[in-house]
């Protein structure tokens, strides 16, 4: 039996190595997407079987006999002992968002290799470990949040900085993702109609749940999904009808609509819009991810993107910056996400029945998220590279007309013609696919292309494309609803210390004021992104990536501190190694975003370039605004880095004091209680 196990795992290791070698070493010929899938699955299997088991046994010393808060504090509401597979599904549904779809699509400008390697290795050695250890440490602290753990284990500065980092990431995240929606919907009556229709559909679901069939959420979600499909179908008709003009908007108009929507969603009752949209989005998300996985495995598409492109030198049109550090910053959530530490120290630890199950839930769910990232790489790389760059490059880089754009892109060595792009746009029901930056349209075209080879053929391209757009926009609007509301509560909690009435979450003037403030903060990034002649996403997405990875840095500081305090210093490298990597990556990226002499990368260099140029008549105000924005963005990146330096410094001092014996290691774990499950009760 033992020999069989050794043989099976050896075979998995050999297959994984062969797949990784194939994707890494093939040059000059297309490869099948199954190599990426096989490399990922074998790596996950080995990582889970061996590495996570090592972490569970040696570093965390998981104890299945120790009662979890779900068991000790079981109140049938927040704390509920739940089957591990159910918790796994719940946790995965909470961590999976638009990030692992968008980031890998943008990073595909470097070729399929860097993104794939980082998504797999980063997840197995970093992201999964972070989610796992934070979940376990929260379970051992009665489900405390990351901010509370940072305050208890590192110190007051750690807690305050974690709070500010969370606030910053929410604001920048909302600005970045709303920009993706705007870019996907500009000039697209079909897409805009479909997304607009999801709002009355969500309200209808809310009314259905509250008045017609109380509590039948799955039923209402299925009904909502059918209505969304009808809206996609109807959008096709709208796009070719006289009503198309009603749903055709420029980017600034859409940005204003999204800002107004964000404010309304934050102030409306939860049951009316936020909760039903959340259910609908989850339903579509789980279904689409499953369909995409089955589709890729069944259809085994060929990748047309080379493993590495010329843009690893930092001259890429999708976003500027060299492969290091920007490939890692851009992929963000597909490999490691600081935001996950909020979920792993939020609802999930209150549901875990046994400590030993945190391995499957924390480590396992992040592996699934990473696999979503690999699928996004595949969706982007099945496109002809010329098409990929035509869709993803801003007009400011490739030119405003189709002739200029195809000329520039073909000159880069990625041939594409205006006729081919026009035919593709017609097939998906759009006027044009040029300059549709943000990642979502490229992902949608890739997904439509994969499915059009079997399910419905070319005739269904438009439906698949708009299904993918709807699916991403629905994800994003859910993040927007929930994020604006969570940001509002955090603001109210903070401002409540300044003036008590502002902290009252049910006081309407406070709701309106704090909603307006949080919407104004992310609306600032959205508006700048829309007005940015270089495409906006070039600026906003790297800022989001930096903020997200810096939050992961805070989470890993907390984790390393606890590991050291537990007397397991010799294993601290498990969290220390990803922490060092993240610090190197994020600090390099932040430094380059602030100080790089390349105006496409460095905010200050861009401001200086604008200031030194002769301003055309009538453009003085716009130029002054762009210069101001660059300086604000540089300041934001700088503040984020300073915050994390403060946490790092406080952590280092704490580690030094504990390791040198100057301070007795004290951890704030809840006392050991033996689990009744262990006694068969």
């Amino acid at each position: 039996m033992k020999t069989t196990r050794i043989l099976v795992w050896s075979a998995i290791a050999v297959l994984g190595a062969l797949s990784l070698a194939t994707i890494a070493l093939r040059r000059g010929e297309s490869i099948n997407a199954m190599w990426l899938v096989t490399a990922a699955l074998c790596s996950y299997a080995l990582g889970y079987r061996f590495y996570s088991k090592f972490v569970a046994a040696r570093v965390l010393a998981l104890d299945a006999l120790r009662a979890t808060p779900a068991e000790r504090l079981d109140n049938g509401r927040d704390f509920v002992p739940t089957n591990k597979w159910v918790v796994f599904g719940h946790h995965f549904a909470a961590i999976a968002g638009p990030g692992p779809l968008v980031g890998p699509v943008l990073a595909a400008q470097f070729g399929y290799l860097p993104g794939t390697i980082w998504i797999i290795a980063g997840a197995v050695l970093g992201g999964c470990v972070q989610d796992f250890v934070i979940l376990l440490f929260s379970v051992r602290r009665d489900g405390k949040s990351l901010t509370e753990m940072a305050r208890d284990e590192i110190g007051r500065v750690g807690g305050a900085v974690a709070f500010l980092a969370v606030m910053s990431i929410i604001v920048i995240l909302l600005g970045a993702v709303s920009l993706i929606v705007v870019n996907a919907l500009k000039g697209s009556p079909w897409g805009t109609f479909t997304i607009a229709a999801t709002m009355p559909i969500a309200v209808l679901m809310g009314v259905y749940l509250r008045h017609l069939r109380p509590g039948k959420v799955l039923e209402a979600s299925a009904l909502g999904f059918v209505l969304v499909l009808a809206a996609i179908w109807g959008g096709q008709w709208v796009a070719h009808s006289p009503y198309a003009a009603w749903f055709t908007f420029s980017a600034p108009v859409l940005a204003i609509a999204v800002i107004v929507y964000g404010f309304a969603a934050s102030a409306l009752p939860v049951w009316l819009l936020l909760a039903p949209r959340d259910y609908l989005s989850t339903f579509v998300k789980l279904g689409t991810i499953a369909i995409l996985a089955i589709g890729i495995v069944a259809l085994r598409p060929t990748l047309h993107m080379p493993p590495l492109t010329r843009f690893i030198d930092g001259t890429g049109p999708v976003f500027a910056g060299t492969i290091f550090p920007f490939a890692f910053i851009t992929i963000a959530c597909g490999a490691i996400s600081g935001f996950h530490s909020l979920i792993a120290s939020g609802t999930t630890p209150k549901l875990v029945q046994r400590e030993s199950e945190t391995r499957m839930v924390g480590y396992g769910a992040m592996m699934a998220e990473s696999f979503v990232g690999v699928m996004a790489v595949i969706a982007a790389c099945v496109l002809d590279p010329g098409v990929y760059f035509a869709v993803n490059s801003p007009a400011g880089i490739v030119g405003a007309t189709p002739a200029q754009a195809v000329g520039t892109i073909t000159a880069w060595g990625f041939p594409v013609t205006a006729d081919h792009m026009a035919g593709l746009a017609r097939a998906v029901g759009e006027d044009t696919l040029f300059n549709r930056t943000g990642g979502a349209p490229a992902f949608a075209v890739g997904m439509a292309q994969i499915f059009s080879h079997s399910l419905g053929g070319q005739a269904m391209m438009g439906i698949w494309y708009h299904f993918a757009i709807m699916f991403e926009a629905l994800f994003i609007l859910t993040v927007l609803d929930a994020g604006t509301r969570v940001g509002r509560f955090m603001l109210q909690d903070g401002l409540g210390h300044v003036w008590a009435p502002l902290g009252r979450t049910s006081w309407y003037p406070s709701i309106v004021a704090t909603s307006a403030l949080i919407v104004a903060l992310w609306g600032y990034f959205l508006w700048n992104g829309v007005k940015d002649p270089l495409g906006g996403i070039n600026t906003v997405w790297p800022l989001f990536g930096i903020a997200n990875q810096l939050l992961a840095t805070v989470a890993l500081c907390v984790a390393t501190t606890i590991v050291i305090k537990c007397g397991r210093t010799k294993y601290a490298w498990v969290t220390l190694a990803p922490l060092c990597w993240l610090v190197t990556v994020t600090f390099s990226a932040a430094y380059q975003k602030i100080f790089s002499a390349n105006p496409r990368v460095g905010f200050l260099a861009h401001a200086q370039l604008l200031a030194s140029q002769a301003v055309p008549p009538g453009k003085a105000a716009e130029t002054a605004r762009l210069i101001f924005n660059d300086r604000v963005n540089a300041a934001v990146a700088g503040i984020l880095v300073v915050l994390v330096i403060m946490v790092l410094t406080e952590s280092l001092i704490e580690w030094f004091r504990v390791l040198s014996g100057r301070k007795r290691a004290h951890i704030s774990e809840t006392p050991y209680v033996r689990s009744r499950y262990a006694e068969g009760q």
């Binding site: 159910v86 509250r210 799955l218 936020l274 969570v486």
Partner: protein, 58 residues
């Protein structure tokens, strides 16, 4: 067949948990209430505070 049934049941339970149907069932049990519009409104009032502070990941 039994394993397929139990896998399907587990998946159904996971969906019910993700979509808060189990939470509502637990609420009814703990408050000894019957399923009704009033009960669901009561449940929504109690759970809204938790739900609206729940972050959704990026």
């Amino acid at each position: 067949m039994t394993s397929i049934t139990s896998a399907a049941r587990l998946m159904w339970e996971a969906l019910r948990e993700i979509f808060d149907e189990n939470a509502y069932a637990r609420f009814l049990r703990s408050h000894r209430l019957e399923d009704s519009r009033e009960s669901y409104r009561h449940y929504l009032r109690e759970s809204d505070a938790t739900r609206e502070r729940r972050p959704r990941c990026c």
